[in-house]
C-alpha cells in the first residue's frame, strides 16, 4: 500500500525545506515528492510518498502539523483518496517491435508524444502501481529511460480546515509608548 502524506502549507521560502528536513533528520526515505500552488496563491499542496511504518508515520505527521508553515498534514495511506502520477518513457525499439509497443501504449491509455527511427516517447498517467507495470512492459521491448513526476493525491472526503485566527500583539495595545527621540 502506498504511504501517502498530503500537506497544505504556506507558500513561503524555506517551508519546503522544513518539511523535507523533518523526514531526512529521521533518516526516512522519500520515495517521491510533489508540490505546487493551490487555488490560493499563498498556499501550496505537497504530496509525499514515504516508506515509514504506521506508528512512526503518525509521529511524523504530528511533527509536520507542529511546523508553523503547515496548515494541515494528513495521512492518506488508509483514507479514501485518488492517487495519480505521470510518467514519460523513452523506449528504443527494434523495427519489428514498433507496432507492439504502440499497442501496449494503447492498452495503458498512454499517448505517444514523440516518434523517431530510434523509438518513441510515451506519456502515461495513472495510479503509481499501473505506471510501474507499464515501465516493466516497456523495458521488455528495449532500452528505456524513465522520468516519473511523483504521486499526487486528493482525499475523497473533504477535511475541515481549521485555520487559526489572528492573535493580538502587545504592540497594538492602547497605551501609546513614549515616542523614541529621532536621531
Amino acid at each position: 500500500m502506498l504511504q501517502v502524506i498530503s500537506l497544505l502549507m504556506e507558500n513561503k521560502p524555506g517551508a519546503l525545506m522544513r518539511v523535507t528536513g523533518l523526514l531526512s533528520q529521521r533518516g526516512y526515505n522519500i520515495e517521491s515528492l510533489t508540490v505546487a500552488r493551490t487555488l490560493d496563491p499563498e498556499l501550496s499542496r505537497m504530496t509525499i510518498v514515504v516508506d515509514v511504518d504506521a506508528v512512526q508515520r503518525q509521529q511524523v505527521i504530528k511533527q509536520m502539523n507542529k511546523l508553523i508553515n503547515v496548515l494541515q498534514a494528513s495521512d492518506l495511506t488508509e483514507s479514501p483518496a485518488v492517487v495519480r502520477e505521470l510518467v514519460l518513457v523513452r523506449v528504443r525499439t527494434a523495427q519489428e517491435s514498433r507496432t507492439a509497443v504502440l499497442k501496449e501504449a494503447e492498452i495503458f491509455a498512454g499517448r505517444v508524444v514523440d516518434s523517431s527511427t530510434e523509438g518513441f516517447v510515451i506519456e502515461v498517467t495513472g495510479d503509481p502501481e499501473k505506471l510501474g507495470e507499464f515501465i516493466d512492459v516497456m523495458g521488455s521491448y528495449g532500452e528505456v529511460e524513465v522520468t516519473r513526476s511523483g504521486a499526487l493525491a486528493i482525499a475523497l472526503e473533504a477535511r475541515k480546515l481549521r485555520l487559526q485566527p489572528p492573535v493580538p500583539t502587545k504592540a497594538g495595545s492602547k497605551e501609546e509608548l513614549q515616542a523614541e527621540p529621532q536621531p
Partner: protein, 582 residues
C-alpha cells in the same frame, strides 16, 4: 499613524513594545546600524565574550524569569556561534529570540564577507526562523517571532535581518495582530479526557505524579500543589521539573531516571497510575521503554500533541496548558472524593494508598540520597550538601553538565520553580557560567551560583570578563576533580578504566585567575574549610571564584546502566571481592 524611521529603529521600537529590557550580544559589521540606535537606550545591552554565551545568557534570563530572552549576533561566524545555544533552548523548550544580522540582500549567495546561510543552518536549531529582506516585513516578523517563542511549547526563534533593512527607511505602524493560520496553540484540554483522567486517578491504589519542565513553563506550581494535596500521590520531578513542587514538600520523592533516586525509580516502576504532567518520557528517565512502568495506566498531559504517544502510548491523553487543565482536574477530583466519602470502596482504597506510602517510605529508607563526607578529602556530595545549606532553597543555581550536575540535582533542594537552571536535553557543557550571567542580570538582588565542573567551566571561561566588566556578584563554584568526570565514570565502569582523554591538566590557579580579572578567588581542599569558604564567597559583595578540590574517582550513584530497566539500578561501587586464603 505611521512614522518614517530606519529599520534599526523599527526593530528597537518592536523590542520595546514586547517588553524587552535586556539584550545579550556581540556586535559585528552588519549589526552596527542596530547597535547605533541601541546606544544609550534604556534597553540594556550586555556584551558577552562569545556568541554561544549570548544565547546561553538569554536562556538564563528566560529560565529564571519566564520572559523571552533576547540575544544578538552578527552575520556569518556570529550567527553560527549561536547554534549550540539555540539547540539547547529547543531541547529544553526555552523561549528566546535570536536576532542576527545578514549581509545586504543583493549580496546573498555571493559568498560575501561574513556571509553565512544562517536561515538554512538554523532551520533545524529553532522552533521557527525568519529571513527579513524587506523593511515592510520587519515589524510583523518581530512580533510573530516573540509570539511563536513564548506560546504553546516555548522555543527559540531566530530572525535574520539584512544590513539594507537595518539601514533602509520605512514607515512604522504598530502591529495590532500576528497572522499565523497554521500555528495552533492548544490550551483547554478535552473535557471528556479530563473527566476520564480524574476517574482513573481517583480509583488508583498506587498513584504517582511524574512531573517535568512543562509544569514550570506553564507556571502551574500552585495548581500542582493542589493536585498533590487532593491525590496525596508521591511526586517525582525530572531534571527540568525540579522546583515545580518545593523540595521540602512531604510528597516529593526526588528525581527519577539514570541518576535518579532509588525510591523514585522503584515508585515509577511499581505505580498503577502514572500522572505525567508536562514531561516527555525522555530516555534519561525511562531507560528501557518496554520495562518502564509496564503495569501502570498513564495519564499524559502536555501542550505539545507530538509528545503524546511519542515514547509511551497513554491511556488518557490530554493536550493543553497545565495552567488551564489542572484546575479542572482538581475540581473533578474534589467532586469524586466528596461523592464517595465513607463508602467501603473508599475505605479499601484509602487502605491501599496507605500501604503504597508505606512502601514508598521504605524505599526511601533503604537507599536514601546521602551527603557523603570524609575526614581527609572533600566529597562531591559534601560540596552539594553545603551549597544546599547556604542556598536555603532560595538561591538561583546554574549548573553546567556532568557529574556535578547529577549530584546537584540529587542533593540541592529548591523551594520553588525557576531557581534551578540546567541544560537537560542537550546537556551542553559551558552552559553554567553564561546562564548565571543571564540570571544575575535578570535578578540583580538575588544570590546566584554558577555551580560548574572544571571541564564545563573552561568551556565558557571567557565570560569571567563579562562578570568582571558588569560587576555581576555571581558565586562561581567549580567542583574540581581534575577530570571530565562523567566520561571518566563511564570509562571506569564500562571500559576497563581506560581513561582516554579525560584528564584535565593545566587547570588555572583560580586565585590568580580571579585576581587577573579583578575579583576574589580561592582554592579549598580540606573538608573542614568548605563551609567557611562558601560563606566567605556569599558574603563577598562582588563576584567570587571558588575552586573546590574534590575526590577525583567518585562515581554518581544510583546509576541505571544503558539499556537496563530503571529498577535495575547500580546503587554503589562493587564490593571488594574477598580472595579466599589458600
Amino acid at each position: 499613524m505611521s512614522t518614517l524611521m530606519s529599520g534599526a529603529r523599527m526593530l528597537l521600537e518592536c523590542l520595546a513594545r514586547e517588553g524587552v529590557d535586556c539584550i545579550f550580544g556581540y556586535p559585528g559589521g552588519v549589526t552596527i546600524p542596530f547597535y547605533d540606535v541601541l546606544y544609550e537606550h534604556r534597553i540594556r545591552h550586555v556584551l558577552v565574550r562569545h556568541e554561544e554565551n549570548a544565547a546561553f545568557a538569554a536562556e538564563g534570563y528566560a529560565r529564571s524569569t519566564g520572559k523571552v530572552g533576547v540575544c544578538c549576533a552578527t552575520s556569518g561566524p556570529g550567527a553560527t556561534n549561536l547554534t549550540t545555544g539555540l539547540v539547547n533552548a529547543l531541547m529544553d523548550s526555552i523561549p528566546i529570540v535570536a536576532l542576527t544580522g545578514q549581509v545586504t540582500s543583493k549580496l546573498i549567495g555571493s559568498d560575501a564577507f561574513q556571509e553565512g546561510d544562517t536561515f538554512g543552518i538554523t532551520r533545524s536549531c529553532t522552533k521557527h526562523n525568519y529571513l527579513v529582506k524587506r523593511i515592510e516585513d520587519l515589524a510583523q516578523t518581530i512580533h510573530e517571532a516573540f509570539y511563536v517563542a513564548s506560546s504553546g511549547r516555548p522555543g527559540p526563534v531566530l530572525v535574520d535581518i539584512t544590513k539594507d533593512v537595518f539601514q533602509g527607511q520605512g514607515h512604522y505602524q504598530p502591529v495590532a495582530a500576528v497572522h499565523l493560520p497554521g500555528y495552533k496553540v492548544f490550551t483547554e484540554g478535552h473535557t471528556g479526557q479530563i473527566r476520564r483522567a480524574a476517574q482513573l486517578i481517583h480509583e488508583a491504589e498506587r498513584p504517582l505524579i511524574y512531573g517535568g519542565g512543562g509544569l514550570i513553563a506553564a507556571g502551574a506550581s500552585p495548581e500542582l500543589r493542589e493536585t498533590v494535596e487532593l491525590t496525596d500521590a508521591p511526586v517525582v520531578l525530572t531534571l527540568l521539573g525540579l522546583g515545580a513542587l518545593p523540595a521540602e514538600h512531604p510528597n516529593f520523592i526526588s528525581m527519577p531516571g539514570m541518576h535518579g533516586s532509588y525510591a523514585a525509580n522503584m515508585a515509577l516502576t511499581n505505580c498503577d497510575a502514572m500522572i505525567a504532567l508536562g514531561t516527555r518520557f525522555d530516555d534519561r528517565v525511562t531507560s528501557h521503554l518496554a520495562a518502564f512502568a509496564p503495569h501502570a495506566k498513564v495519564v499524559h498531559v502536555d501542550i505539545d500533541p507530538a509528545e503524546i504517544g511519542k515514547n509511551r502510548v497513554p491511556d488518557v491523553p490530554i493536550v493543553g496548558d497545565l495552567k488551564r487543565i489542572l484546575p479542572k482536574l482538581n475540581r473533578l477530583l474534589t467532586e469524586l472524593a466528596g461523592a464517595e466519602a465513607k463508602t467501603p470502596a473508599a475505605e479499601k482504597r484509602t487502605a491501599a494508598r496507605r500501604a503504597w506510602w508505606r512502601q514508598v517510605r521504605e524505599w526511601k529508607r533503604e537507599h536514601p540520597l546521602r551527603v557523603e563526607t570524609s575526614e581527609t578529602e572533600i566529597k562531591p556530595q559534601h560540596l552539594m550538601g553545603e551549597v544546599d545549606r547556604i542556598s536555603g532553597g532560595k538561591a538561583i543555581v546554574c549548573s553546567d553538565v556532568g557529574q556535578h550536575q547529577m549530584w546537584a540535582a540529587q542533593l540541592i533542594r529548591f523551594s520553588g520553580p525557576r531557581l534551578w537552571l540546567s541544560s537537560g536535553g542537550l546537556g551542553s557543557m559551558g552552559f553554567g557560567l553564561p546562564a548565571a550571567v543571564g540570571a544575575q542580570v535578570a535578578h540583580p538582588g538575588k544570590l546566584v551560583f554558577a555551580l560548574v565542573g572544571d571541564g564545563g567551566f573552561q568551556m565558557s571561561i571567557p565570560e569571567l570578563s563579562t562578570v568582571a566588566g558588569n560587576h555581576l556578584p555571581i558565586k562561581i563554584v567549580v567542583m574540581n576533580n581534575g577530570y571530565l568526570g562523567m566520561v571518566r565514570q563511564w570509562q571506569t565502569l564500562f571500559y576497563n578504566n581506560r581513561l582516554s582523554a579525560v584528564k584535565l591538566d593545566g587547570f588555572p590557579d583560580v586565585e590568580k585567575l580571579a585576581a587577573a580579572y579583578g575579583f576574589q578567588g580561592r582554592i579549598v581542599a580540606k573538608p573542614g574549610e568548605l563551609r567557611g569558604a562558601l560563606e566567605a564567597a556569599v558574603r563577598e559583595p562582588g563576584p567570587y571564584l571558588l575552586s573546590v578540590k574534590v575526590s577525583p574517582m567518585e562515581n554518581v550513584y544510583p546509576m541505571v546502566p544503558a539499556g537496563a530497566a530503571i529498577s535495575e539500578m547500580v546503587l554503589g561501587p562493587p564490593e571488594p571481592v574477598e580472595v579466599p586464603a589458600k
